[in-house]
């Protein structure tokens, strides 16, 4: 009798527990379905369709759009160059900063310095890129240089300007994950390495760098994936002479209204991003020997 009652009570309790879990998860699930899953399905469906005569989408089932991808090979190629090179440049600048913040900066300054890294993020990237346009443009640094007698320095609309803009814009995204992995690093491991005869440089290569690889890979994948869709910075600071997938997408969806072809490009981009993420995750878990942490 009492056992039966207990079971009923337990059952009711579990039911209530499940209901609560479902209710709590509902908003996030609904958000994901409406804003991620549904649009993604739409894009996937568009990508096997045809362009309607007056633009937009017309139902069909054809792989013609994918077959047409080589038409935008240059944009793909440029993006495939920009994304890893930009991410690498970001990494080279971010690692020393993160290293200093996590291992060298005095404890009481750490939070302030970290805040300084993040604060520019609170302003729109567009605004900040326009600011760089002004700084690098004719009335910015070149004018200053001319003032001290160095004439005809061209900064804006160069590959260097694009790289600078990218490093500047994405730096916090690279610094933060690396900082976190270095901050978590057990300092006694560095002492153990020194104790075993490793010079500071060997210790850095053999212990610090390897154990911070998960952070490096997270930062690298984050920046690289965002750069795969980047077109603003090259347009504003590079003079818009080089076309990227981002430019192609804006053009295909908003100007020439070839939605199916744009969708095919978008799907390909997503596929590439996923491959990059998985590869980065594999590499970092193998090298750092950490237990698997799945990013996706």
């Amino acid at each position: 009798m009492s056992a039966g009652l207990g079971a009923v009570f337990m059952h009711g309790n579990r039911f209530r527990h499940n209901l609560l879990t479902a209710l709590l998860l509902a908003p996030a699930t609904a958000w994901l379905v409406v804003f991620l899953v549904l649009p993604f399905i739409a894009i996937a469906v568009f990508s096997v369709g045809e362009r309607a005569p007056e633009g937009g989408y017309q139902a069909a089932f054809t792989l013609a759009q994918y077959a047409n991808l080589p038409a935008r090979a240059t944009a793909f190629w440029n993006t495939m160059m920009l994304a890893p090179v930009g991410a690498l440049a970001c990494l080279l600048v971010a690692y020393p900063v993160a290293y200093y913040l996590a291992l060298k900066a005095p404890q009481r300054w750490r939070l302030i310095l970290l805040a300084l890294v993040v604060i520019p993020f609170w302003t729109s990237l567009l605004m900040r890129t326009y600011a760089w346009m002004y700084i690098l443009g004719g009335r910015g640094i070149p004018a200053l240089l001319a003032f001290v007698g160095i004439e005809d320095v061209r900064l804006i609309n160069t590959p260097g300007a694009v790289l600078l803009g990218i490093v500047y814009g994405y730096l916090p995204l690279m610094i933060l994950p690396i900082y976190v992995s270095l901050e978590r690093l057990d300092r006694r491991l560095l002492e153990a390495s020194a104790d075993l005869g490793a010079t500071p440089f060997s210790t850095f290569l053999g212990v610090t760098l390897k154990l911070s690889l998960p952070g490096v890979m997270t930062g690298f994948s984050l920046v690289m994936i965002l750069l795969l869709g980047e077109y603003l910075i090259p347009t504003l600071l590079g003079g818009g002479k080089v076309f990227f997938i981002g430019n192609a997408l804006v053009d295909l969806f908003l100007q020439s209204r070839n939605w199916p072809f744009g969708s095919a490009i978008a799907i390909t981009l997503v596929a590439v991003s996923v491959v990059v993420l998985i590869a980065a995750n594999r590499i970092s878990t193998r090298v750092s020997g950490a237990r698997r942490v799945d990013l996706i």
């Binding site: 002492e191 153990a192 390495s193 020194a194 104790d195 212990v207 154990l211 020997g289």
Partner: protein, 378 residues
């Protein structure tokens, strides 16, 4: 000619800002000794070890390793290796790679066969042969401890430093490792310097115990000396269990001092320093120096309050009127039924040794006496 000491501290002081962690230490450790630095937390023992390892630089004084002044020598150029607290094994490397880490740093480079052979030997020495391919997180605490030992010993250091190496192990494993470490030290014959706050561990494992308090060496000697002949009240209290009874000096009889306890009992005790008549002193009575039962001239009579039966011995908490609770330890003879029961009245006498009387210090047993130029004679 005497052998060059493995470790020598000359007037070493270490300050962190306004805090003095180690103050004016002189210490000489001869070759092939097992030395324990023993003391409560914050006594400076770990700082001393870290100064040998090169992780801290002395503010004053010098640290010598095998006769060489180590000032300015970074950890990676010192002929010592450390077993870190909680081991600090590299999580991204397997057991073999952890053990061979030091060998890979050697310049000129060692051949990979040489590295493999020596790493294998080291693993065999700590009875972990065949574990080379394991990940660190797959090992138990005791196994990790042995990997840490192998990793340090594989480099054939002049001195092995051990920072609370057994603190993370359970009691049974700790006892096993104590024996293993002792055997290992005798086998390899290099100096081991052990830092511990566990007096039992220090007494049971080492040839010499260096008791530290407040950044200074309070006493240095063989374990039995430290236990039988504590230099002061702090050592008497910190090392082993003891009964400390407060009293006043009533007079002197030869070398002994007569102490009048709170209940009026006068007992004869040995002394460490000159004591004035009327001075307040603490008398240390080891539990095993007390005998229970009807003895001629038993100074105390009390009532058994608690009994802890330990097999070969039994510990009693005995309440003595006017004195407080005394801890006594008595051997148990199998089949004799010589156990006292709680509530039973009992007479307490002295079985062995003469009690020791110490000057009382203001800061609750913490003695600040400077032990200068202490040298171990081996």
């Amino acid at each position: 000619m005497t052998a060059v000491p493995d470790i020598e501290f000359r007037g070493v002081t270490k300050r962190y800002g306004a805090v003095t962690a180690v103050s004016g230490i002189d210490l000489t450790v001869p070759p092939s000794a097992f030395v324990a630095l023993l003391g409560p937390s914050g006594c400076g023992k770990t700082t001393c070890l870290r100064m040998i390892g090169g992780f801290e630089q002395p503010s004053e004084g010098q640290v010598f390793i095998r006769g060489r002044d180590m000032a300015g020598t970074p950890p990676y150029r010192r002929p010592v290796n450390m077993v870190f607290q909680q081991y600090a094994l590299f999580p991204h490397l397997d057991v073999e790679a952890n053990v061979s880490y030091g060998l890979r740093q050697a310049r000129p480079r060692l051949s990979s066969q040489e590295i493999g052979r020596r790493a294998g030997e080291a693993l065999e020495m700590v009875r972990l042969a065949g574990y080379g391919g394991r990940k660190i997180h797959e090992l138990s605490g005791g196994q990790q401890q042995r990997v840490a030992l192998a990793r340090a010993l594989v480099n054939k250091p002049a001195v092995l430093l051990l920072d609370e190496p057994l603190a993370a192990l359970d009691k049974k494993l700790r006892t096993d490792m104590q024996i293993e470490l002792q055997n290992l030290q005798r086998e390899i014959g290099i100096t081991f310097v052990l830092v511990t706050h566990d007096q039992e561990e220090a007494l049971s494992m080492s040839d010499f115990v260096c008791v530290m308090n407040g950044g200074r060496i309070v006493q240095l000697g063989q374990p039995s000396e430290i236990y039988d002949e504590p230099a002061d009240l702090f050592v008497a209290d910190f090392v082993g269990k003891t009964n400390l009874l407060s009293g006043k000096v009533a007079g002197h009889t030869g070398d002994l001092v007569n102490v009048a306890l709170a209940d009026g009992t006068v007992i004869a005790a040995r002394k460490r320093t000159a004591l004035q008549k009327g001075e307040t002193v603490s008398v240390s009575l080891r539990p095993e120096s007390l005998s229970l039962g009807a003895t001629e001239g038993s100074p105390f009579k009390g009532i058994v309050r608690n009994r802890i039966f330990l097999g070969s011995t039994a510990e009693y908490a005995i309440e003595v009127q006017g004195i407080g609770t005394l801890l006594a330890k008595a051997d148990h003879v199998i089949g004799h039924g010589n156990l006292f029961k709680p509530g039973e009245p009992v007479a307490i006498g002295f079985a062995s040794g003469t009690p020791l009387a110490f000057q009382e210090t203001k800061n609750n047993g913490t003695n600040q006496r400077v032990a200068k130029n202490v040298e171990i004679i081996s």
